[in-house]
Structures are given as structure tokens and as C-alpha cells.
């Protein structure tokens, strides 16, 4: 028992030391910089259009786990769900030449990409599914990005713990060929648990970047004035890394 107490005390003292470093100004700067070093290393080693692995149909998981919001009850979402998302609209706005408002039918009529990819949650689990939808680049080019645009923000219909979900990526991931606005999973319209009727697929990053219940796509010059300024719901709320390729 005594030895255990010694270990607990030693552990607690070490953890307290780490937390003091993390709370200090230089400590915070260092922890934030490390995320950037990884991002730079990834970008240096990997071509901006290099694809995440795609799998054969036989690799698809028996079902696809849902996480975070799995059945939004806020705003107009339940009413949309009731009518099978027949009147859902997706807006493309912000720093664009021609703002768009697209119906589900508009989206289904665009050229589609189908990809069987692996979804990795930040918690550690993975699931494989087949996603279908138009490439985001198609929508951005149709709206015409203005020169000042640096980031693409995804607006969502779900509200978690009192805050609207949102996410953002830079233009490299926005224009990646596998970045699609998915409306089908495994050949069927998206289930509510997985983000019906529209969700993002950002295949080279972790699951929390793949915004579900998508209502708007917004081009911006800076993330400072969006939400609490860190670029996403989990980034704002709990300090998750904005670059989620690690």
C-alpha cells in the first residue's frame, strides 16, 4: 500500500509539473507550435492531391457508427427530417462572386464521386463506408472564390451543448479530390445518425472535421470572427487541434 501511495504521489507531482508548463505562456505556444510542425511535415511529405486509401466493397463495415449529434432536435431539423429533407437547402456564400442556394435535387444532378474510405475518430475507432456526392471544388468553382478567401467554413444544423456545430478547412483540403459533399452512404440516402441529408468528407483528417447536417458553405479570409475563433466546434469548446491529420 505504501509503495502505491509513493507512486501516486510521484505521478501527481509530475502531472502537476506538466500542467504548470501547459498553463504558462511559453508552454502554450510550444504545444500549439507542435501541431503546426506536424502539419508542415505532412504537407512537405505528401502531395496536396495524394489520396487517402480507398477500399473494395468487401471491406465496408457492417454498419457505420454515429458520434456527437446523432439525432438533432433543434431549429427546423426535426421538421425537415419528417418530410424526408425534400426542402433542405445548401448555401454557398461568403467571399464568393456568385452566392448559391442549392436544393437536394440540384446537388444530386451534379457530377458525383463515389469513394469507399475509412473514417477515423479522434477517440481511436475506425469504420469503412461508401460515400457519394459532388466534389466540394465543383461548388466552390461554380460560386467563384474571391481572391481573399483562405478558409472554407462548414455550417451545420445541429446544436451541441448550446453551441452550433461548425468546422473549417484550408483551401488545400477544400480542393482535395476526395473532399466531397456526401448525400449517400453505402448506396442509400444518409441516415440521420451519420449526418442526413448532407455531410462533408475530409478524408485526410479525423472525424470531427467531417461536418454533418450541412446547411452552409462559407468562404472566409480569417477564422477569428467565426464562433470563438478556433475554427470549429470542438476546437472552440475543448481545445482540439484544428489540423486533425495527426
Amino acid at each position: 500500500m505504501k509503495r502505491r501511495n509513493f507512486l501516486v504521489t510521484l505521478g501527481a507531482a509530475f502531472v502537476a509539473g506538466c500542467n504548470r508548463v501547459a498553463d504558462s505562456q511559453p508552454g502554450q505556444a510550444l504545444l500549439g507550435a507542435a501541431e503546426k510542425w506536424h502539419e508542415s511535415a505532412h504537407r512537405l511529405l505528401t502531395d496536396r492531391t495524394a489520396l487517402a486509401p480507398e477500399y473494395p466493397r468487401s471491406a465496408i463495415s457492417p454498419y457505420f457508427r454515429g458520434n456527437g449529434s446523432t439525432d438533432p432536435q433543434t431549429g427546423g431539423y426535426p421538421a425537415h427530417a419528417e418530410e424526408g429533407f425534400a426542402n433542405w437547402r445548401l448555401t454557398v456564400g461568403g467571399l464568393v462572386e456568385t452566392p448559391l442556394s442549392l436544393s437536394m435535387e440540384n446537388i444530386r444532378r451534379l457530377p458525383q464521386r463515389t469513394q469507399i474510405t475509412r473514417h477515423d475518430c479522434v477517440e481511436g475507432w475506425s469504420a469503412i463506408g461508401e460515400w457519394t456526392g459532388p466534389q466540394l471544388s465543383l461548388l466552390l468553382d461554380a460560386a467563384g472564390l474571391r481572391e481573399e478567401a483562405r478558409f472554407i467554413v462548414f455550417r451545420c444544423a445541429d446544436n451541441l451543448n448550446g453551441q452550433d456545430y461548425y468546422e473549417s478547412v484550408d483551401l488545400i483540403d477544400a480542393y482535395h479530390p476526395q473532399t466531397i459533399v456526401a448525400h449517400r452512404l453505402n448506396g442509400k440516402p444518409l441516415p440521420i445518425r451519420n449526418g442526413a441529408p448532407l455531410r462533408m468528407r475530409i478524408e485526410r483528417q479525423l472525424g470531427y472535421k467531417h461536418a454533418k447536417y450541412l446547411t452552409g458553405i462559407e468562404a472566409v479570409a480569417s477564422l477569428d470572427d467565426i464562433g470563438l475563433g478556433k475554427g470549429g466546434y470542438w476546437e472552440d469548446r475543448a481545445g482540439y487541434q484544428w489540423y486533425a491529420g495527426i
Binding site: A34, W37, H42, P53, D120
Partner: protein, 221 residues
């Protein structure tokens, strides 16, 4: 002549700090999803090969459940850990520490010789004979430096989705992303096992002299 080269001593303590922070923040990351799987995917209890216990707060960084903060630490310390390991390999190849002290000779692999070494350890006799390390030490240090520590880096890279477009072959070689995650965990605990035995043997073989040797270099006995 010093018992341990400066490069060895610097790396030893830097690596200790890195491994401790990486392991303790890794326990928080483990707590975020307490199951391990083989293959490419896995997310439900019936797919898991191991249900991992929840690690108590006192052995985790940051001491309470925060996956984001634990990942911050893990992502930061991965750098000095991996670059330090590279430095140690270059240094010990350059100063011949590896070839002279750690690489084993064929004669040491004779069962009779190994058995003699095991019995000596069980009697707590740590006489090294002519060389710096006996066979079991060479084997342990060789495994840690050559397999356990590098495998942490390789399995870590294999889990990272941003690395996969370039290192897809590595993920495949490990049998898929969830296999790589399982191996990351297995090698982490192999290192933890080495750590316990290593500290125990230092305590049993004259801790003051051993510590002095790893800090100031000591002198060759």
C-alpha cells in the same frame, strides 16, 4: 575513460522525459476509446480483441480526462522522442557503442552460455566479465533501441491519417490502421515492462554508482 558517452547520457534522460510524458498522455488517449481491434476498422465491443481497463487519473496527463490536452502533449513530445532516437542511433554507430557493447557475438547465443547468464541474474550476480554488458543486457538494450522504440514511431506514423497517403505501405505492412493502433499500444506496454525491470535492476546493482555513471559519466571500472 567515461563509462557512458555524453551522447548516451543526454539521450537517456531526454528519452526518459519523452517516454514518461508520451506514456502518461497515451493512457488518457486510451481512456477515450477502451477497446483494441485488428484489421482496418473496428468500433464496437463485438469487434474488439481486447477491452482495456480505464486508467486512473493519477497516472494520466493531464490528470483529468481531456483528450485534446493529452493529444497536445503527445503531439509535442513525439518530436524530441523521434529526433532523439535518430540522434542516438547515429551517435552509437559513429562512436561504435553499438558494435562494441550492444551487438551480440554468435558464441553468446549458445544455450549453455545463455543459461549461465540467466542463473547469474537470478542469483543477483551482475558481473559483466570482459565486456561492458552481459548477454541479457545486450539483448534487452538491443530490443529496446532496435525494435520497441522505433516501432513506437512507425506505428504512430501509421495511425496518423495525414501521413497515410504517403505511408500507406506502412499501414498495410502492419495489417491495417486498427492493427497499427493495437501494436502502438502493445509496444508501449512492452516499453513500460522494460522500464520496470530496468529500474529494479538499477536498484539491485548499486543505484548510486549507476546513477552517477549515467549523469556525470563515471569512470570505467
Amino acid at each position: 575513460m567515461k563509462r557512458h558517452a555524453l551522447s548516451t547520457r543526454l539521450w537517456h534522460w531526454l528519452n526518459l522525459l519523452c517516454v514518461v510524458v508520451l506514456f502518461m498522455s497515451g493512457l488518457t488517449i486510451s481512456n477515450a476509446h477502451r477497446r483494441l481491434y485488428w484489421g482496418d476498422w473496428g468500433f464496437a465491443p463485438e469487434q474488439a480483441w481486447l477491452a482495456v481497463p480505464r486508467f486512473p487519473d493519477w497516472m494520466t496527463i493531464p490528470g483529468y480526462y481531456s483528450l485534446a490536452v493529452a493529444r497536445d502533449w503527445h503531439i509535442l513530445m513525439a518530436w524530441p522522442y523521434a529526433l532523439g532516437l535518430l540522434f542516438m542511433w547515429v551517435a552509437m554507430l559513429a562512436n561504435r557503442h553499438f558494435v562494441r557493447d550492444i551487438a551480440t557475438r554468435r558464441s553468446e547465443w549458445r544455450p549453455a552460455a545463455i543459461w549461465r547468464d540467466v542463473r547469474a541474474h537470478l542469483r543477483l550476480e551482475f558481473d559483466h566479465g570482459a565486456g561492458k554488458y552481459n548477454f541479457l543486457q545486450k539483448l534487452a538494450y538491443g530490443l529496446v533501441l532496435g525494435v520497441f522504440l522505433p516501432m513506437m514511431v512507425l506505428t504512430g506514423i501509421a495511425i496518423s491519417p495525414g501521413m497515410e497517403p504517403t505511408f500507406g505501405w506502412l499501414v498495410e505492412a502492419m495489417g491495417g490502421r486498427q492493427s497499427a493502433r493495437s501494436l502502438h499500444f502493445i509496444f508501449a506496454f512492452a516499453l513500460a515492462g522494460f522500464f520496470v525491470v530496468h529500474v529494479l535492476l538499477v536498484l539491485l546493482s548499486g543505484p548510486i554508482g549507476q546513477m552517477r555513471a549515467m549523469i556525470s559519466g563515471g569512470s570505467q571500472a
